[in-house]
Subunit: 335 residues, 4 copies
């Protein structure tokens, strides 16, 4: 179940404190150039240590290609990338076994896997694995470029702690010595009309499926989204202006009937505050059978939303590259 | 791509003005009683003609079992149900070919299927097909009962046109002679902890995938949802109170790390206003190459959100029944 | 699990003595002409009543299109076809409940489905459902034609009861008042090279998966097949003669490394004798707890292999149409 | 497409001359002990260098666990294993680019992947990847043991070069300085009845799908197999002797209607002679545009069938473990 996609299929694996995390991309077209250098900009954007509000943990996140790449190009065989976990301190986490951290998957993972889960640093549930999504997303973006050089996919932070001025929202959290949530918006331009399917594989269905794979996402809305629930039909409907599908407004967010209409594809996600907050919290101790005070000592982001844009772009690109392949919009590359 | 599910798999088919719409449920456990009478209450809830704001079109929506049922019980073989389309007036729709209706899939369907789509009444994109989802949902609810008689799944309207007083919201639309949107909330109680998977098959991922299969849904949020984006970590985190997973609050909506934690599973969806509104609109005429006034003559709901609760319960039950089967929580029935 | 395919997906349903059997084809390209008349030749080939050795049961096997067809062309939405079961005599089968027929699925179905299976006439396991495969195969053959008008797929009987002279083999069975097995060969010409995947979706893997879905098939071999096991490498290897892939011999049966090489794709299947034989047999009576004599009274084929060729073509076409779609060899049709 | 399975899903990757080959097992139950030592016996059986007729190439085939294992037990998260490729000589293969080796995937891979495939040593098509199947099979065998300690799965060589005396068959090849084919039989004992599905996921369908994933397999037959095609119905039918499903004979090979009946599950595969034979062959040179003499210099098995038994057990176990999970026959392990 750690897989996604119809033609472009990803399989994610790894734990926060295992030797590596990784991802296999199966169904990747042959002939796409994938020099390591092309991975750096997005991987840097995801990294901590660069901005106020993210953790100082530093990782050398270069993908190690295990398969599917030859002479710096994709071969068409499954492409597996690893990212080594060099910078972990297991001792930060060992005692947490008996103290499930609020907001984390410690309790649910233990219920699901009968106590055999790798609990160190959140294990397989760790945000660390999003490095794999970003790397796969870089390849997906390249596939989108093969379909059309005009397509772009850009996500930005719209709000932190309820403040459109993100600096101000972040400062609020720093002042409160607490973590804080935020809102991220993703806009994809110049997509062809016709991507997505009527029901269970609607563009919204697939994007939301992958968006909720990102830890900390708790809501998603397309176009006008929740605001649409307050509107009248004549306000909300996007009037068609010409035969190419241009509309006067874009309340639909570029998707009608589950299918892209050629307008900008726009959606926003709600990111909850980082579960690990420096402030003291209460939780239940499974050993002592008592509720006790608890505070996080490790290195953690104050605002996980700051890392989300590049991950959100990645999952969007993974969905859209698959849909472009399904509509035969990605021409074959041959030598 | 008109399929969903891992162990409990549904395949939907049909068009608004074809002979029937239908659904196949594959992987349904054998031995579940499915008398036709058990389908009536939920199918009635979905029907128009019963309340202010829904269309007077009446349908005799009894499922016709084609396969998978023997002596009124499921056999374990694929269960196919048809619903006949007796009450259609194609002439309402025929001239719309050249006038894509704003908010409808007319334009995107034509782009996707090269002009070969059955455009009558929205064809395969019609809300008519939700009768199949509701019927499949009834069987999914029965599977949940086999897992535990305590599980319940109930959706209710929380807002119409921005008004928590739904009567008032509806009257606003009637007065404006326009359609209007709304918000629906779904609560599932007494689920076991451990349902869902870490990433792409998280409980949120699967529920949102299916929720966006319902026409007119444009947003979804779990627990605190978009409000979480404005919260601090210590506000949002649900403190664990005992070894069974009880928490002081339920901001997570019953899902942590993609996996149910035993709390109430709570989410809300935003429903856009019905695209077909009695008020005059503008659209582009593909034949005359001109923008022209346009008004809908057919029978349509003022507020499609009124029909959504039972459909939302159905898709929630379809996801959860599948997850219960995956966790081996549904005991086999034998003669 | 009653589904097959990646881009062209089939979902089969129905029982021998239910109202209808049927199949849904999802992912069928839009715009393919499917007049009912085009289904008759292959459906006739499958029918009994036409040749020595097949049952006199006659069925009017016209497909009833429920969805996915508009103006006699595919729409791109799921295409569901039903075949009514008009000509059944349930009384032939009712008493068989306690007497599992040797060679039939009566015992295994009961074990699997806890006794809730529809046991009449073999239920979901009945050869009756192969009418759905043949009909889906006709559409698959049409998709192959869109890819290239030169592709042909023809299956023929090579042996009955060990006799290459099939008349003679059949007469042996008639004389013995017993049923008899046979061998059927399928040859597909003018396929492009490059269809199939290295491992689990090799052309052999997929064809054999579907071939064993045909009741009574117990073996399959590609090219030289079992004879290859007795050969030396220099005998077996097909020497390449030119840049287009022509080879001096075709011991590989047109598939190397799981992928078509442009040669004729050739394979053979072993068909066991019809399980229902007019001759008296022994079986166990679950009610009396005794072994008892048993003889089949219903209408049954002496040699089920006679019906297999058209079914084998159908499943081959279903696999190959899917592979052609995966390699983007089927151009889109637009109005 | 390099994936297989419904609940127990495998994803294979890697190339003969890349850094590693590997496999991810997703859906593996938590709590299964997987000490490295348990992998050695089967991995040794697969290795060359041990018996007449296999290549002297030696590999230290110890699995490196990247994920899904913690304290020597499975965690329930995806389990990824790598096998390093330490012992490769790329120079053996480089010049083969222009000389497609008869019987190998060189030509078809190039056609499929547009010339971008990693052609060194057969790349992703190499028999080297079967080490991954064997390792995954070891875990599948452990899952079968959790279901029942009585289940056993053993494959043996039945014939080499047409000789039941395998020493004699092998000597024939050595004398001829040629490679040679063989037949391998796999027997699984003490399976429960009820595994497999009626059509596309019949036990035969799934086993054959995976068996043909093994390079060099060109035929498969279950029970009486091709011999059944020559039999009468009363000869072939297995008479039921008691309520537990015991039969007087086992011509069906333990599968009726696609579903296991509790008898020994028996099948045989035909293995073609190793494509790389020391004897001189002819092939086409894409550079010179001429047919030329060609002989293999590298290290290769005379009879690849000698390595097949342990691989065949592995793929059989992978299918059956998945089917046992589907029938809820594998109890959960909890701490």
């Amino acid at each position: 179940m750690n897989s996604f996609g119809t033609l472009l299929r990803i399989h994610i694996f790894g734990e926060s404190h295992g030797p590596s995390v990784g991802i296999t991309i199966d169904g990747c077209p042959a002939g796409i150039p994938v020099p390591q250098a092309d991975f750096l900009p997005d991987l840097e954007r995801r990294k901590g240590g660069m901005q106020k509000g993210t953790t100082p943990r530093k990782e050398d996140d270069l993908p190690i290609f295990i398969s599917g790449v030859f002479n710096e190009r994709t071969t068409g065989a499954p492409l597996t990338m690893l990212f080594e976990n060099n910078n972990t301190r297991s001792t930060d986490y060992d005692k947490l076994r008996s103290v499930p951290r609020p907001g984390h998957a410690d309790f649910t993972a233990s219920q699901k896997f009968g106590g055999y889960e790798d609990f160190r640093g959140g294990g397989h549930f760790s945000g660390r694995l999003t490095v794999c999504l970003v790397a796969a997303g870089i390849i997906a973006k390249k596939i989108m470029q093969v379909a059309s050089g005009k397509i772009s996919c850009v996500a930005t932070i719209k709000e932190i702690g309820g403040e459109p001025d993100t600096e101000k929202g972040l400062q609020k959290a720093i002042d409160a010595k607490d973590s804080v949530g935020g809102i991220v918006e993703c806009v994809t331009k110049n997509l062809p009309a016709g991507l997505g399917e009527p029901f269970f594989h609607s563009a919204e269905s697939l994007i939301s499926q992958l968006a909720f794979a990102i830890p900390a996402i708790k809501g998603i809305e397309f176009g006008a989204g929740f605001a649409a629930a307050k509107m009248f039909g004549t306000e909300h409907n996007d009037a068609l202006l010409d035969a190419s599908g241009t509309t006067a407004t874009n309340h639909a967010g570029g998707i009608v009937g589950g299918i892209t209409n050629g307008n900008d594809l726009i959606f926003r996600v709600a990111v909850k505050p980082t579960s690990s907050t420096p402030k003291e919290q209460q939780t239940y101790n499974l050993d002592t059978d008592k509720i006790e005070a608890f505070s996080v000592k490790g290195r953690h982001d104050l605002c996980i939303a700051l890392r989300v844009p590049v991950i959100l772009e990645a999952v969007t690109a993974l969905v859209l590259a698959d849909l472009l392949l399904l509509e035969q919009k990605v021409p074959r590359i041959t030598q």
